[in-house]
Each structure stands twice: as C-alpha cells, then as structure tokens.
C-alpha cells in the first residue's frame, strides 16, 4: 500500500510540471502562430456604438523582438501622425500638435472606445504572462494566464486555444479580482503569405461598455526587420518613413 501511495505521489509530482511545460509550450506556439517575432502590419480599428454608428482608425505597426513595438495612425485626419511606442514596460504617445512624446500608461486609451494602449501595442503573450493552469475542453485548450508583473494591463487572461490550429479563438481579460474587463474573439483565419496564417479579424466587447463593440482587421502582415533605433523617442515623429 505504501509503495502504491509513493508511486501515485511520484506520478502526481511528475505530472504537475509536465502540465506547466505543456501550457508554456502551447502559449509560445500561439505567439508564433499569431505573428513572427519581427514584422510590419496594418490594422483597421472600428469602434461600433449600440446604434450602429462607426468610427474607424487605420494604424501601421512595426515590431521587433520580444519587447519593441511602434504604431502610427494614418487615418482619420484628426489622428494622423499620432504614434505610440512600447519598449518593454515603457510606453509613449506622440501627438503632432504637442510635438513631443509623453509617457502613457498601458491602461490608457489612445483613441477612445474599448481598445486601450496595450491592445494596440500588444507584445507576445508568453512575454507578459505565465500559464497557471491548462484545461482540456475537447477541441480546445483553456489556458489560465497570470501576468508576470504588475505593470501588465490585464492581471489574468483566460485563453481558449484551438488544439488543431494552435490559434486562440477567445480571450477573456480579467482584473486581479477576476472581474471581466473585456472579451476578445479571433475570427476569419487567413493566409497572409510568408508562412503567416492567423485570424484576420479580432472582435472585442466589454461589460464595461454595454452594446459597444470594437473590430480590428489585419492587412499586409509581413516579416520585416528594422533597426533598433526605430524604437526610440527620437524616431517617433518619423515612423511614417518606414512605410
């Protein structure tokens, strides 16, 4: 009997890290499938109000490595030239009128609506989160993620991952007290070329904004390596020169 209990305990102890490793591997694979490490892309953000009224923004984004990402609004005219930069946990916003970059926080919204800065300047999930639990839900894994630091916008995520494609289908963003802030739905898997196959539409809704919805559409997603100097405050007014 003692041998049996010992065997079960050893098996359990061995299984626990295996789960954690699996979850980490799944999350890293999700990151790889969503985007190459360095890329450029265009996104259209559409805020939809309960009465159907829409406001659209077009954003150019360039990312390098695990912690450098910059974005530039190219429309509408009122936002044109506005750029955002993220270097790890540091974020800045450059407004042409103001003429100099100002530090911003990840929770702040650059454009209003459901999207905030960290949605627009999203780093890899595995850079910001640890997998705390993996649930098997038939065709999907449910990953429970916990932010590695307090500086991450959402303390917890619940990520549903398609087992076959290893792509997220839905993410719930939660506060430390497990309050739901927003739900992100990944749709319309497309081949962008260069081995990038990923959802081309990301929809977001939030219980904090009842009846409102935000849609993010992706285009011209491709691998690109740019100089590190692009991801500096000095370069922020010049991001358009990369297009």
């Amino acid at each position: 009997m003692i041998r049996f209990i010992f065997f079960v305990m050893v098996a359990l102890l061995a299984a626990a890290p295996a789960y954690a490793v699996d979850g980490k591997q799944i999350l890293e694979q999700v990151d790889k499938n969503l985007a190459p490490e360095s890329y450029e892309l265009y996104r259209k953000l559409i805020n939809i109000e309960p009465d159907g009224k829409k406001k659209e923004f077009v954003l150019f984004t360039v990312k390098k490595g695990s912690d450098k990402i910059a974005g530039l609004f190219i429309s509408p005219a009122s936002e044109k030239g506005r750029s955002t930069l993220r270097l790890g946990e540091n974020m800045w916003l450059y407004i042409p009128n103001v003429g100099k970059p100002i530090r911003i926080t990840s929770l702040q919204s650059v454009i209003g609506g459901v999207f905030n800065n960290s949605d627009i300047l999203q780093l890899d999930y595995s850079v910001e989160y640890d997998v705390t639990q993996v649930e098997d839900q038939g065709k999907e894994h449910l990953l429970h993620l916990k932010a590695k630091t307090k500086t991450v916008a959402y303390d917890q995520l619940k990520m549903w991952v398609d087992k076959e494609k290893v792509q997220p289908t839905k993410i719930e963003c939660l506060t430390e007290a497990s309050m739901l802030i927003k739900t992100i739905y990944f749709k319309d898997i497309q081949d962008f070329g260069g081995g990038i196959v990923r959802p081309a539409t990301v929809e977001t809704d939030s219980p904090l904004y009842k009846g409102y919805k935000s849609i993010m559409l992706f285009a011209n997603f491709k691998k690109r390596e740019v100089a590190d100097e692009v991801f500096t405050l000095t370069f922020m007014p010049n991001i358009d020169s990369l297009r």
């Binding site: 009224k53 100089a227 405050l233």
Partner: protein
C-alpha cells in the same frame, strides 16, 4: 408557399445577406497606400465671450479710453495647413497658420510660418534638419523651464502648436541592450542675425544648444544647455518615469545664468536686476480605475516677479489711470503698456504655481466625450484660474469643445487684476 420553397427563399436571403455583412468590415489596400506628398491641417472657428472686470488694473490698461460695457465678444477663425514632400532620404515639411479675428477693434488678420524645414535621413540613426522648427524640450505638461530654444507656451492651452525658430539641428540616436536602452544627441545652431530669429533675443549672435537623451533604467533623462549668445547661458535636465502602470512622475530643472528682469518701484522708476536663478517643475500623471486622469504640477519660476514687484506694477497702472481720468494724458499708461510687453504681461509672471487637470474619459458610457477641469493656482498671491471644459470627438475629424475660464483673486493679485472675470468659448475644429 411550400415549406421547401420557404427554406429556399430564406437560403437565398441568407446568401445575399452574407456579402453585405462582410462588406461592413472591409479593409481596402488604398486605405494604406502611401503617397510621396501629404497635405492636411485643420480649420477652426472659435466664438468667445469675455466678461470684463472693470475694476481690474489690466482692464484699465487696455480699455482706459473706451467703454465696452460688461462683456465683449471675439470670433477667431484659424486655418492651420501642413504639407510634406518626401523623396529618398529627403523630406520637406511646412506648417503655416492663418488667423482672422473679429474683436471690439474690428477685423484683424495674421499669418505665419510655424515650421518649414528640410530633413535628411541618411539612415535610421541620423536626422539632419535645416529650417524653421520647434524643439519642444522638457517633460512638463503646463510649463517647460528647460525649453531653451522654444517660445513660451501658454499653460491655458499647452497642446497648441507653437511657432518655431530658424535652426540647423542633428538627431543622432543609438539603441542598446541593457539598462541603457537609448542614447540620442541633438546639437542645435540657432543664428540670430538681422531679421532672422530677431525675437529670440539679442541679434548678431550664433546660439549653440544641445540635448542629450538617455533611456536609462526605464527612465527618460535629458541634459541640455544653451550657450551664451542672444540669451544668457543656461543648463538643465529633465526626467520622466512610470512608477506604476497608472502613475508617471516627471520633473525639470533649469539653471539660468545672468537672468535679467526689468522691475518698477513705487515712484515708477524702472531698474534692471541680474542674477543666476533656478527654475524647476515637479509633476505627476495618474490614471484611476474609473479612468480619470489627473495631471498635477508644481512650478517654480526663478525668473518670475515677487508679489511686491507685481503689486507695484498694478499700483503704477492705477496711478496712470487716475492721471488719465483727471488730466486725459496717458503717458504713464503707455509706459505701463511697454512694461507689460517687456515682462509683466507674460503668462504666469510670478514665482510659484500649482497646476491640476482632471479629465474623465467617456463618463456615463458616452463614447468620445471627455469633460475636464483645469486649475492654475498662484501660490504667492492665492489667486487662480479655473477652467471647466467639455470635449466631444464622436464625429470623424470634427472636435467640439465648450470651455469656460473663471479668474479669481483679491486686488493686486495676478488673476484678480486680469482684464476678464470670465471667458466662455466654443471651439469647433475640423481636421482634413
């Protein structure tokens, strides 16, 4: 209709409807196409009502020879145009501002080139610029004591574009792995000869300035200087850092050598003082869970006037006004106007100020609606301005802002002696 034909009908409707649904969220390639040129800007219309303070010194200085009643109106229309042209490593950029005003004095207009420069970028690390440009040094929101080569910004409207100076500048930037992530160096040459930059200071001088920027331990740090030339030599530094995801702190310090001020005494005699002074600013930006943003700053203006000096200036105006009423001669008031233009009339002329701006993002689930209130408090004389505002940006490219400003303070205080008691304005700005 049979059940089968009903299903067929519904199927056809569904098939026809599907492309419409996907139509809704189209992302066309022409939306992201880049042209070698760009033309944009905004048109602004701003009617304003001023409530006049007929007992205030600055009212007497401006309106001593006319009676405009208790209120006066102004309509301002602005066209700000910017354009750029890019070819290879070169980019030409220009921003011009045209303003047409209707005030109690009638119509007036002015146009100026805010910026106009040629930029050359041989690679990502270098940017050489020649022409009229703004530098916008400093981390403060309302004030920037280290903005050595820029015009003074108005703390009441700190986000407005400013007119630049003619300069030659270079940006050199390098990135690193480790605690020092970014280093950039910006040397600047600002010539003041003849008409060129004649409002920067003494002419016939070549001014040299530079800024060194570091992103070190996740903190933005700048060191800057302006050599002696049109203005006295000055040295400074600033910093900015996020302490939490929702809390940022920033500061600026400027050491200004041989700072000159023209001050007036009780008899109306003016004298010049010259001394080394320090100006500094400490501030924070905090975002609450309810998405309320607080910007708070303390500013010490080393070049500012003391309460006693400002009181003497207001007394001088009152004396001039009494002289005008009894003798109809405005000699003293004209002198006071000159003094006002040479220093006493600048925004925030005294030494110590607090700034607080509270803005609430989209309250009551009203998207694109931001109410805010701004308070500027003169610590030295306890006078203040309070400015509530409502901003709505829900219509693409149109920004509507309703703003009120109340100025309050005792006699002989900065805000108490302003010509207005209050101001109400509606600003409609259309971007194109």
């Amino acid at each position: 209709m049979t059940k089968r034909s009903l299903y067929n009908f519904l199927w056809v409707i569904l098939v026809l409807a599907t492309p419409c649904l996907s139509e809704e969220y189209k992302f066309e390639l022409e939306e992201i196409e880049k042209k070698p040129y760009h033309v944009g800007g905004y048109l602004e219309l701003r009617p304003t009502l001023f409530g006049l303070d007929r007992d205030a010194a600055l009212y007497k200085l401006r309106f001593y020879d006319r009676d405009e009643g208790k209120t006066t109106e102004q309509v301002t229309s602005i066209a700000q145009l910017d354009g750029s042209l890019e070819k290879g490593i070169a980019r030409l950029f220009a921003r011009a501002n045209f303003e047409l005003d209707y005030t109690y004095l009638g119509w007036s207009s002015q146009g100026s080139l805010f910026e106009g420069y040629l930029s050359l970028k041989p690679d990502r690390s270098w940017d050489l610029r020649l022409g009229k440009q703004t530098m916008k040094w400093g981390k403060g929101y309302a004030w920037n004591p280290v903005a050595f080569v820029d015009r003074l910004k108005n703390p009441d409207e700190p986000d407005l574009n400013l007119e630049g100076f003619f300069m030659a500048s270079v940006d050199f930037v390098r990135s690193f792995d480790g605690t020092l992530k970014t280093l950039s160096f910006t040397p600047v040459l600002l010539p003041a000869y003849g008409d060129m930059n004649d409002d920067f200071g003494e002419t016939g001088k070549l001014n040299v300035a530079a800024k060194l920027y570091l992103l070190y331990y996740d903190t933005d740090i700048d060191f800057m200087f302006l050599s002696e030339g049109s203005r006295s030599a000055r040295y400074g530094f600033d910093f900015s850092r996020n302490l939490l995801t929702n809390l940022e702190v920033h500061g600026e310090f400027a050491w200004i050598t041989d700072s000159r001020r023209t001050v007036i005494d009780q008899t109306g005699r003016t004298s010049q003082t010259e001394s080394d002074v320090a100006s500094f600013l400490l501030g924070l930006r905090y975002l609450s869970v309810q998405e309320t943003t607080y910007i708070f700053e303390y500013y010490h203006n080393g070049q500012g006037f003391t309460q006693d000096e400002v009181e003497k200036f207001f007394s001088f105006i009152n004396r001039g006004y009494e002289a005008y009423v009894s003798t109809r001669t405005d000699t003293i008031l004209k002198r006071a106007q000159n003094l006002s233009e040479s220093g006493y009339g600048r925004p925030n002329v005294m030494k110590d100020y607090l700034y607080l701006r509270i803005s609430q993002k989209e309250p009551f689930d009203i998207l694109y609606f931001t109410p805010a209130i701004t308070w500027i408090f003169n610590i030295d004389d306890q006078s203040f301005s309070l400015a509530p505002e409502l901003v709505y940006t829900g219509i693409t490219n149109l920004e509507l802002r309703l703003k009120g400003v109340v100025l309050a303070g005792e006699s002989f205080t900065e805000y108490g002696e302003k010509q207005n008691d209050y101001r109400i304005e509606l600003r409609a700005r259309y971007y194109f």
